[in-house]
Amino acid sequence: MILAARNQIGLTPREIEYCVKAWEYLCEEGEGGLRELVTAEASRHSSKTYFSEADGRVYLGADVKPGRGIEANARISIVGCLAHELAHAERFDLGFRRPVKLPDKLLDEAEASLHASFMRQLGSRDREDLIEDARDRLNQWFVAK
């Protein structure tokens, strides 16, 4: 069992369509308006969901879906994962610059999860999972620093 394993199987067109819908719902009334969600690689195995500081866009990947890991990160739903990436984008707009190297990158990940946990569109389960994810990443930072 891998602790933090999220889904790796490429998304189906229907799953991608759902992600786009969820993204629109999250972004519509957000601070930066509707942002682009790039879906070109989402159907590929092991593709990643991430915010690109270079172009300000979020890229959809297979790991947007939860997986079988036992950590909070593995449990975070599609909407929770997209909220986490939106949080990265909003924090970037606010002037926060994410450290790219470990272990400090973990602090930014924890802060993004906490930021996302305040989003009104999320259910209480997502909110708790994001807070737990932040806690786990902070613990990892303490161990690694």
Binding site: Y25, L26, E28, E31, F92, G95, F118, L122, R127
Partner: protein, 218 residues
């Protein structure tokens, strides 16, 4: 009323239908549960936002989004200018330094909505205008410093009050009225308005609509 979002998002009609509703007949909505009784309500993002802002709905653990004092939208609904009104609590501090610190804090902590222009009205001295870039540089000096009395004098004269006696809310109303006038005005060769045309703000605001935090001003 306490509300619990389900986190489930789908296509449907919004049950709330505020003025800003984006799914009157069909659109992206999410199911929320109202307590007591866990009644399901389907709501679009705009109506969810409106219900939260009005205080009609409360979601445990969710942040209430701060709204700028005045916002100007282009005719196609894009946010063009965000205005924050603040009083310089100590006129002993240089206004420019205070304005830069204030914008830094607003960017870092309050989350100024992204827009091409940001204006900080610092009572009683100046209007500071930033042409925003992406991503925003929180420590950048303003692009324009405009004496507040110079542009708002007709409104202040009407109130018969010196600027330092005008409160934040009232100043917000004055600025909204002034901006409303700008959105409908013809181009002017007035030298005191050179900054308005030089910055591109006039073009950005032309025929736009002005909104205040609590009520529509235009």
């Amino acid at each position: 009323m306490k509300i619990e979002p389900s986190g489930v998002i789908f296509t449907g009609a919004c049950s709330i239908q505020t003025d800003r509703c984006r799914a009157r007949e069909s659109g992206t909505v999410s199911a929320v549960w109202a307590s007591p009784g866990r009644l399901q309500i389907d709501v679009c993002a705009a109506c969810l936002d409106e219900q939260m802002r009005s205080g009609d709905w409360e979601i445990q653990g969710a942040k209430i989004k701060g709204e700028p004092d005045v916002t100007v939208y282009s005719p196609n609904g894009k946010r063009q200018l965000v205005v924050e009104v603040q009083t310089n609590p100590s006129c002993r501090k240089p206004a420019l330094e205070w304005a830069q610190k204030m914008r830094h804090n607003l960017l870092a902590h309050a989350g100024i909505p992204v827009s091409p222009y940001f204006m900080l009205a610092l009572i009683p001295d100046y209007l500071y205008l930033w042409k925003e870039s992406y991503p925003a540089d929180p420590d950048r000096a303003p692009d324009y410093e405009i004496p507040l009395q110079e542009v708002l004098q007709p409104y202040l004269a009407h109130l018969a009050l010196p600027p330092f006696r005008v409160g934040d809310k009232q100043m917000g109303e004055i600025i909204a009225a002034w901006l409303k006038e700008i959105t409908a005005a013809q181009p002017s060769a007035d030298a005191s308005l050179q900054w308005l045309h030089g910055s591109g703000l006039y073009e950005a605001l032309k025929d736009g609509s002005v909104e205040m935090q609590e009520k529509l001003a235009a």
